[in-house]
């Protein structure tokens, strides 16, 4: 038997607007900008909903109705769910139908898509619990498999998840860690009792997520027979193919006119047409296979960039200082018991914010390759710190 574990990550941050120092102590609206502005969460959410969420969820649901063996796993952040509740509640209803049919599983994570694990364990626990409660309220299920924001993973995180009783945890299948081993097996994280580790097959995932529309790629255009051939070849290294990617791959990163939807629509039935092939959810993958080996990742590995580390989020002075100042306020924030203030503070923990302050690729002048809601990393930092000032002002009030 050969199984594809298709896992899609669904997330939108709640962006702060170009919040001026002259707004501090006067206007505490950080997150609701006018519709046409660059940071309008509503405009961006509705745009991506039309280009990606709606057509792809329809595609997935159609295939689930046609093929009971077709299954998907989602991780859905709290900040996405809040925005969907406001601007596209039918998307939540649609995901709920898929969950109820038993063909979709929801993965656990932090509510705010934060890197709290690296700053404050109490905050991290709170956000994971908040997420789990939100998922239970909306979909009536409790996440059994965990993924951390940006796939930021290390041995101690695995231990934490093991102790919390998760069945599995997701991470990047990075060659430097795996060595000769293949990501197409289930592993046991070092020093853990029960939990299983599922590793992203980044080559086969990135063929779709990053290379699909790249005309300079020698393999362009990617066809179903070609891709199936590659998977068949890869199955010689193990029978579990973990295709982990952003949900927005479909329609937003790869636009409809690249043929990405047609590709998926053809690929799913084609894969299932062979009797030995199936799709599994992340929990099913954990149940199906015994660990092939133990894997240790003492240093944090992420799914980003060639470095696969946290440097895009937490390396330059601005990122370090913004996160430090943010988490320093936690005790004072919580002691106010002011729900709105606590939420406003927590929205700032979303990892997209320090990412927008990243200067790693900024000096190259290659701004076109750089996607951000802000004119520059410096401006993003500037507005972030102004919001933080107002939050501090509200604590003291």
């Amino acid at each position: 038997m050969r199984a594809i574990c298709l896992y899609l990550h669904i997330h939108q941050p709640i962006r702060y607007r170009e919040y001026s120092i002259f707004d501090v102590a006067n206007d505490s609206n950080y997150y609701n900008d006018h519709y046409d502005s660059r940071q309008s969460n509503e405009r961006i959410f509705k745009k991506v909903a039309n280009k990606s969420y709606r057509p792809m969820l329809n595609l997935l649901e159609n295939n689930m109705q046609r093929f009971p063996e077709f299954k998907v796993s989602f991780s859905i952040t709290g900040t996405w769910l809040e925005q969907a509740e406001r601007w596209a509640p039918e998307l939540i209803a649609q995901i709920d139908r898929m969950v109820k049919s038993g063909q979709a599983e929801i993965v656990g994570e932090t509510y705010y898509h934060s890197l709290a694990y690296f700053y404050n364990l109490d905050e991290f626990n709170d956000q994971v619990l908040m997420h789990s409660q939100k998922i239970e309220r909306l979909f009536g299920v409790t996440p059994k498999v965990f993924r951390n924001t940006e796939f930021a993973y290390n041995d101690s995180l695995a231990k934490w998840a093991d102790e919390k009783g998760y069945k599995g945890i997701l991470a990047e299948g990075w060659d430097k860690i795996l060595g000769w081993r293949s990501p197409n097996h289930v592993y046991r994280p070092a020093g853990c009792e029960n939990i299983k580790l599922l590793l992203k097959n980044y080559r086969l995932s990135d063929d779709i997520a990053f290379r699909f529309s790249n005309r300079a790629w020698a393999e362009w255009p990617l066809t179903v027979p070609k891709y199936t051939d590659w998977i068949n070849m890869d199955c010689l290294r193990g029978n579990l193919i973990n295709l982990f990617m952003d949900f927005e791959t479909f329609g937003e990163h790869q636009w409809e006119d690249t043929g990405i939807f047609n590709f998926m629509n053809a690929f799913i039935p084609d894969w299932l047409s062979k009797y030995e092939n199936k799709f599994v959810t992340v929990s099913e993958a954990c149940d199906l296979y015994e660990p092939a080996d133990e894997i240790s990742m003492p240093d944090t590995i992420t799914w980003a960039d060639t470095e696969r580390d946290l440097s895009a989020w937490l390396s330059n002075k601005m990122q370090v200082s913004a996160m430090q100042e943010l988490y320093n306020l936690r005790d004072q924030i919580l002691s106010t018991n002011d729900g709105q203030l606590i939420a406003d503070w927590r929205y700032l923990t979303t990892s997209d914010h320090p990412y927008s302050m990243c200067t790693k690729y900024w000096n190259d002048g290659d701004v076109h390759a750089y996607f951000s809601a802000y004119a520059s990393p410096y401006e993003s930092f500037m507005y972030f710190m102004n919001v933080l000032r107002d939050i501090e002002f509200r604590i003291k009030k």
Partner: protein, 409 residues
């Protein structure tokens, strides 16, 4: 060997601004690439450092007269500078331009350059003579348009006309930035495909020489810095083009949030009195320092003293002072309407009218050491990105293209 006849209006040490420095560096870098350059200037003087090319004096006038008494500098300025001079000798800029044209016309009867490369409107008429009368390919190099000088309003109609004709007649146009390319297209309706962008670079000798900052000279400003003040500087002519009233209004806004801000306005020009008056009326006179016109070491001292350099121009074709300030470790705040903002990423930017955003940016740098240090450090890797050798290579490509095109027709 490729022969280029350059038409310019000034070269160091007889320059009043950036135009002469840019022409000098460009010619030098081209000469290094093996180009034979002859450079026409409208006066007769020694250029001790320019032995890599042949300098041709179009008149026998002293360099001081080169901007005449016409629209460029006022007659009064010249009279003040040289009070003993006989007014009859003060020829108008139009008269000098006519002599310049005659000289180029005569010169081309016996010489055959591959390309004539004319710098700014002052020399475009001579360039047109070369093109029309002698069938030599013409490049019009735009360091600034009359729209820039007039703060994006209409300027002198005669200059507009000369500029327009030069741009129309030219085989190719070189603009010093995308901003300038846009203006040439939007205002003069020249097709974008006819215009190449070639950025300027910092003067090659800028970091050589023996500049040394002496802390004891500026005890007052140093003491302010030690007591936690942030120093913001701006440098340039006080003219409508530079957008300084908006900077002054932004200064008042910023000072209302943080009184420990000192603004140094270095330069002079027709807006000086208006600016002094504005500082007083806004109640920030104590936070604003006017230095008058400065150059050389004193100018470098201002860059060194300052934490932030603001380029507030309504329209700035390039903006070399920003690169100089970066060299001295300043944080740069640039208008989106400046050419230099197209090649510098490690800077804060704003639209020239947005005084609140400028105030926001000044305050953010003054209040966040992480932001200040990031901008300071990152711009260091950037400001030398473009060298004069690269500039020369781009020009050479354009020359070759024109010459080939001409041969084929």
């Amino acid at each position: 060997m490729m022969k280029i006849l350059m038409l310019g209006w000034e070269l160091p040490p007889h320059n009043s601004g950036g135009l002469g420095v840019a022409c000098f560096n460009l010619a030098k870098a081209l000469a290094r690439q093996g180009v034979n350059i002859e450079f026409v200037v409208p006066y007769d003087a020694d250029h001790p450092d320019a032995n890599f090319m042949k300098i041709l004096p179009a008149t026998h006038l002293d360099p001081i007269y080169r901007y005449g008494g016409g629209s460029y500098a006022s007659m009064n300025v010249l009279e003040e500078l040289i009070p003993s001079v006989d007014k009859e000798v003060l020829v108008s800029i139009r008269e000098i331009q006519k002599q310049y044209c005659d000289y180029v016309d005569k010169y081309l009867k016996n010489h055959r350059p591959d390309v004539v490369h004319a710098h700014d409107w002052l020399t475009y008429e001579a360039g047109i003579i070369a093109k029309k009368g002698h069938n030599v390919p013409l490049i019009a190099h735009v360091h600034a348009t009359e729209f820039d000088r007039a703060g994006m309003h209409s300027g002198n109609p005669l200059i507009h006309e000369i500029e327009y004709e030069g741009l129309m007649m030219a085989d190719r146009i070189i603009a010093v930035s995308e901003t300038t390319k846009r203006i040439i297209h939007d205002k003069y309706r020249i097709p974008l495909s006819k215009i190449d962008v070639v950025y300027n670079s910092l003067d090659e000798n800028y970091d050589k020489g023996n500049y040394c900052f002496d802390e004891k000279t500026y005890r007052y400003i140093e003491s302010l810095k030690q007591s936690g003040h942030t120093i913001i500087s701006t440098v340039g002519r006080f003219t409508i083009q530079k957008g300084l009233p908006n900077l002054m209004r932004a200064a008042a806004l910023a000072i209302s949030k943080n009184p420990k801000l000192i603004f140094i306005f270095a330069g002079d020009g027709e807006e000086r009195n208006e600016l002094i008056n504005m500082a007083a009326e806004l109640g920030i006179a104590k936070n604003v320092i006017f230095t008058g016109f400065i150059r050389g070491k004193k100018l470098r001292d201002i860059y060194t003293l300052a934490d932030i350099f603001v380029m507030s121009s309504v329209s700035e074709p390039f903006g070399l002072t920003a690169l100089e300030a970066a060299h001295h470790g300043d944080v740069l705040i640039l208008t989106n309407q400046s050419g230099v903002s197209e090649i510098i990423w490690s800077a804060l930017k704003y639209d020239f009218w947005d005084k609140q955003k400028l105030a926001d940016e000044i305050l953010a740098v003054a209040n966040n050491s992480a932001l200040k240090e990031s901008l300071q450090e990152n711009v260091q890797n950037e400001y030398r990105k473009i060298s004069w050798n690269q500039v020369a290579k781009k020009c050479l490509k354009i020359y070759n293209r024109i010459i080939k095109h001409k041969r084929n027709h």
